[in-house]
Amino acid sequence: MKLKFHYIILIALTVMAVSCKKDTLEAPKSKLTGRLVYNGQAINVEQNRVPIELYQKGFGLVGDINGTAAQDGSYSFLLFDGNYQLIIPNNQGPFRWNQTGNSRDTLNVTVNGDQTLDLEVTPFYLITNAQYSANGRAISATFGIDQIITDANARDIESVTLFVNKTQFVSGRDNLKSASVAGSAITNPASVTLTTDALDPIVGNQNYVFARVGLKIANVEDLIFSPLQKVTIGN
């Protein structure tokens, strides 16, 4: 029998195509998304700082599926269908969530296809009505501070800071300029104004920046932010 080269290729291709089908595991495809919200309003945090963990029991070793909230408080997981337990670990995030005293309880989540799950949290404070303006290359923000938790769990304000950055990632780690006031120096929480120094020139003559205000709560690691705002500046 004469062995023809194109038969070999044909057979090899068939084998490869079939085996691909055979040994590749199915990828997770159910999408669990949501936001951290308070009264329907998104809680803004620092990116990569507020962890959200999922646990699934019954598969041997116990470990978390780890995700973090984005700047605007949104999160997403790509999962297999099944029963999960969701938790925002103790002391994480500038809010109280599903907790009695200091410890938090898990939330049972059943994933079956794509779904949206907003996590209702109670922030210690909220920044309201933030208005930004640019005076030359200096950025100002005027805003109010609303204390949400006033019972025995209330915390003091450590400081409030206006952060300005050239990209939309704005936080203590990512900023060009910032201006800060200590919590003890705030006399009228209903209207606080902060102004940064003039910004240095930005490469490419970018004529806009992003700004938001972060509030540091005493003994809480994560800051709570106001929504991100794009501010146009003079060159």
Binding site: R49, P51, L61, V62, N90, G172, R173, N219, E221
Partner: protein
């Protein structure tokens, strides 16, 4: 017929005869020494304990490489592959973790077998057992610093089919410290009180470790109150504030024991008239003149136990190994922290009051009148190393005021940038304007890969014991005693005007400048609960860098450089003089961010899955 009979008989005899000796094939292996024989000869036991010594864990060590010294903005890594040190914006929660229960098991087995041994003489046996317990205490101390409370296992565990009895929960953090202290108390009498015993456990080493461990526990108890979230309900992490004084007293008592000579005569090293050379020699002098080093990791040229610290960090212009040089560059942050001789803090004066550059005749004039430890720790521009001056020049400034870094110096064939740099991104030369001097071996050949260096790594030294005693006494309100101790350390460094008042900030400062690059930085900042304040992730400006020097809470997130330029303007009075500029290198894009979850390193999920009794660390 007869022939057959004889043959059969002899075959039968042969077979039965050889069958008789059942042990014929049962021979002792030649490459494994049985336990009972091992523990019958002191020389053999020494080789076992040597292995346990070798496996000690240090935060920074000469044999775990230059990179273990470079973090925390006290230095810049001049190796482009290691730029992540200054580019990352956080440390992983698992950073610095350790969970080596195999090592603990080996130490427990060693202690058990040495105890069971009948053929060792009593003195040898006591010393070996004490060494085993010393090393076990040292490792538990290392664990509790990194992980908080861990399961305390003091005997070798045997699996008999039931895994549940082998699962031990985490002890309280204070219990681990108590264990370390009580072990050291129990064995100190069995260890030699001899200052020349440096690489094996000695009574001095036991007291020194006790003083450090109790100090750590005391400060965690006291300053832990400022970070209430860094605790666990079962006290696996965090120590109640009420225990602080007890620990400080134990720390002071242990320090006093060494200072009063109960462990042999230790003293500060004062052998050389030049105080900076004297300070550098503490780390290179291994003779019995050195009564300062208490417990060291020793090395020896010509054996496998040598290290590459000098190879990796020698000045480029004086390198004995071509481009293998210059990696660890101390930052301006640490350089400017060294006090002036009148006990005040000041930034390195690069500009005068109105912002004009100050011109210096010699490069080293800008550092004049400072703590002698500066030049003993850091190799400043123009320092002599191995017989010639190092050549640090970032370029020149011409009459028009332009900084020129390319070409040659005007009218010469000398390149405008020095042989040692600095130039942004030019690796293996200094990029901060400084090289490391601590541990750098001045012996010819120490910079060659074929020979390398045998400078010892000092784990415990007398100056730290004095500072431990000073801090403990200060926290207990015994200020005059504290001043007596801290002033000894300072006067050895040329700060001869004695302090008359003491503050917490001064103690933080003193430990920083005396003990920098000795593996203390992280643990000190952690126990004072200052780490999240000092490394808060904020970016730094030059103005911030130069302000508030000496404050314990000063931000220190990014390393800065100080670049010398030659002023070239013939006819001008300042022609040929030096001016300096602070520089933030382009690679320094990250800022050290210490999260609350970094205070205690993560116990990974595999460990927790295998033993559900282990509780997770807080804030992770």
């Amino acid at each position: 017929m007869k022939k057959i009979f004889i043959m059969t008989m002899s075959a039968a005899l042969l077979i039965t005869g050889s069958c008789k000796d059942n042990n014929y094939l049962d021979i002792d292996p030649r490459d494994v020494v049985p336990t009972d024989r091992m523990f019958s000869d002191p020389a053999l036991v020494l080789s076992v304990v040597a292995d346990l010594y070798q496996r000690q864990l240090d935060f920074s060590g000469l044999d775990n490489g230059w990179a273990s010294f470079v973090d925390f903005s006290e230095a810049f890594p001049s190796e482009n592959g290691s730029s992540f040190f200054v580019q990352r914006t956080n440390w992983g929660f698992g950073e610095w973790n350790t969970w080596d229960y195999a090592y603990i098991r080996d130490m427990n087995l060693f202690i058990e077998r040495a105890t069971a041994s009948t053929e060792l003489n009593a003195a040898d046996k006591r010393r070996f057992i004490a060494e085993g317990r010393f090393l076990r205490a040292a490792y538990y101390f290392e664990m509790v610093k990194r992980m908080g409370g861990v399961p305390i296992i003091t005997s070798s565990l045997t699996y008999d089919g039931d895994v549940l009895t082998l699962r031990k929960p985490r002890a309280k953090e204070s219990e681990v410290y108590d264990f370390v202290i009580s072990e050291l108390t129990a064995i100190k009498g069995d260890l030699p009180a001899n200052p020349d015993t440096k690489s094996r456990a000695s009574r001095g080493a036991a007291f020194a470790m006790m003083s450090r461990a109790a100090l750590y526990a005391g400060s965690i108890a006291k300053y832990g109150a400022t970070t209430p979230t860094v605790t666990l309900p079962g006290d696996e992490v965090g120590i109640p504030a009420s225990l602080a004084n007890g620990y400080y007293q134990q720390s002071l008592a242990a320090a006093d024991s060494i200072i009063e000579g109960k462990a042999g005569s230790y003293s500060l090293y004062r052998s050389l008239p030049n105080l900076s050379d004297n300070f550098a020699a503490i780390f290179t002098d291994k003779s019995s003149v050195n009564r300062e080093s208490i417990f060291i990791e020793d090395f020896r040229v010509g054996t496998n136990k040598v290290h590459s610290f000098t190879v990796n960090n020698q000045p480029y212009s004086r390198s004995e190994e071509g481009a293998d040089a210059g990696r660890l560059n101390p930052s301006l942050n640490i350089v400017q922290s060294f006090e002036l001789l009148d006990n005040t803090y000041a930034p390195i004066p690069t500009v005068d009051g109105s912002g004009n550059p100050i011109y210096y005749t010699n490069q080293q004039d800008i550092f004049a009148g400072r703590d002698a430890r500066l030049a003993g720790t850091v190799m400043l521009p123009g320092s002599i190393f191995k017989g010639a001056a190092i050549d640090i020049r970032a370029g020149y400034q011409n009459a028009a005021g332009d900084i020129v870094t390319n070409g040659n110096l005007p009218g010469t064939s000398t390149p405008s940038i020095g042989l040692d740099g600095p130039s942004d991104g030019l690796e293996f030369r200094t990029q901060t304007g400084f090289y490391i001097r601590k541990y750098l071996d001045p012996v010819t050949g120490s910079g060659r890969r074929g020979r390398r260096s045998d400078v010892a790594f000092i784990r415990y030294r007398y100056a730290e014991v004095l500072l431990n005693g000073a801090e403990a006494a200060f926290e207990l309100g015994q200020t005059s005693k504290a001043l007596g101790y801290i002033n000894q350390v300072r006067s050895r460094a040329g700060l001869t005007t004695a302090l008359t008042t003491l503050t917490f900030d001064k103690i933080v400062h003193e430990r920083r400048v005396e003990l920098v690059f000795e593996g203390h930085t992280l643990y000190d900042m952690k126990r004072w609960r200052l780490a999240h304040v000092v490394w808060d992730g904020g970016i730094m400006t030059v103005a911030q860098l130069k302000a508030n020097i000496g404050s314990a809470t000063k931000r220190n997130t990014q390393p800065f450089s100080l670049w010398p330029y030659l002023y070239q303007n013939p006819g001008n009075a300042n022609h040929g003089k030096w001016m300096f500029r602070e520089v933030k290198l382009s690679r320094v894009t990250g800022a050290n961010t210490f999260q609350m979850g970094n205070y205690y390193s993560e116990i990974n999920n595999n460990i927790i899955s295998r033993n559900p009794e282990i509780v997770r660390q807080p804030n992770q």
